[in-house]
Amino acid sequence: MTQAATAAEPRTLAPPGRRLARVTANDALGAYRLISAHDREGPLEPRPGQFYMLAAAERWGGGADERPYLPRAFSYARARRADRGALLEFLLEAVGPGTERLGSLDPGDELALVGPLGVGFRQPEVGTRPLLVGGGIGTAPLVCLADELGAPRVLLGFRSGAHAEAARLFERPSLATDDGSVGRRALVTELLAETLQDEDLPAEGLATTVYACGPPPMLEAVRTICAERGVPAQLALESGMACGFGACFGCVVATRDGYVRLCLDGPVLEADRLQAVPE
């Protein structure tokens, strides 16, 4: 339990308890919602790829099927220093009772939150240029990563034009949509394959480190493409979580060395730790 043993991991420690943060804005961004909250007690600098467990402070539950009950995990999309504390931004896709309740919060309402949690993205391997690959709501953690890396190359894929609105959070991303309404009618992994193809490989190999987040089939394609080309990749995965801080052992993902708790050893995993992206 020495601090040193884990000092190397890109993790900002969280305060050891749930706290409240006031919602300052909640706006539609195409098919998504962008929620800002003023976190007065948390750390100012979470690491890109880390996440927070969120719940509405009031009326979390009591929906048609009497859920949600547990908090929900969300990557932060951006964090800025604000007057006393940090302003956190979350990008949300409504897929069920938890995301619907959060999406209905009004400015002034309070979020209950724990975080930042998990291990974020690691630095690009020495001598490589980062390449960010995002699919759908998986673009969320890439927003702050792009800010930190300073305008890296970004490839984004979306279902539709309404979803592609989220691309506005990035500078000059390359875009693909399933229906071709915005950008290329293609899968973002096709863009990835082409980009890596076009690349002039330096003698030593490694020209690029890929950072990817998106739905499991996309991540699996990213993993395969990168593995075939020997390109290092860091994948931000998802799994069902109850706690987010290693307490419940519920979020495990199978790696080459057995199950790991995604909330503790992830959500960002080096692609070569995985035999395959689960699901």
């Binding site: 420690l13 050891p16 749930r18 949600p68 009950y69 547990l70 908090p71 069902g240």
Partner: protein
Amino acid sequence: MSWQLAAGGWQSGFELCGVPLRGPVLNGSGTFDAIAARRAFGDALLEQFPFDAFVSKTITVEPRDGNPPPRLWETPAGMINSIGLPNRGLEGFLAHDLPQLVELPVPLVVSVMGFSVDELARLLSGVGERAEVAMMELNFSCPNVETGLVMGAEPEETEAAVDRLRPLTEKPLIVKLTPNAVDPAGVAEAAERAGADAVSLVNTLKGMAFDPRTGRAWLGGVTGGLSGPAIGAVALEQVHAVAERVRIPVIGMGGIASGHDAREFLDAGAACVAVGTENFRDPAAGRRVAFELAEPQALPVRD
């Protein structure tokens, strides 16, 4: 052993089975991993440690991977887990976990489960002799693993097992009861007769969920254990029934999320309480519950 409020805090001299405790709030085994939590929260965890004694996740003789995912299902005011007791096994626990758990500012309770009484005996002697360990808990109740159910479901089985295990350690022995028994109070009496120093209850209730898209069992382990506020009323009934029939202290748990809930368990006859699933919603839940219990103004006035 009796628990009472002193103005503004715990009664000094409070203890459980002879082990002094700063208060009556433990964690439920398997619902808080102090080693993982220290990675997430750093040393602030130790400064604001949420519990008055720490109960380890249940360990077994051999290492276990646990059940395949998915392991979680959310239910109305609760959840089902089919974690399946992943742990490093006895050797791994002693070598890796114990040295880190010693750094916690509160007494350590180690929870053990065996697929046979022999295995339990090895665990009890292996862990019980370590000075760092304050108490041992026998998990007779895990619904995920066949034997856990059998040992704790019937008074005779329980009495026979505890009878053989009791002499193997000098540490206080807590028997954790399964709620999936016809007569938990009868099982508790059997444990008391055989020399248990305390009983804890409830463990999770057997539960199941179906994947709406496929109609098949959702959980990798097929069935799982239900916990959280949904089971509070069942837990209270069992704690009440047990506390009426044994003289050893009862550690009550099941759905505790507030000081108000905790006080219900004390009203039901528990000497201590444990917070389980609520830790997942708030890592500081233990401290919050303890605070609300100690501050009478946080609770409804007693006539």
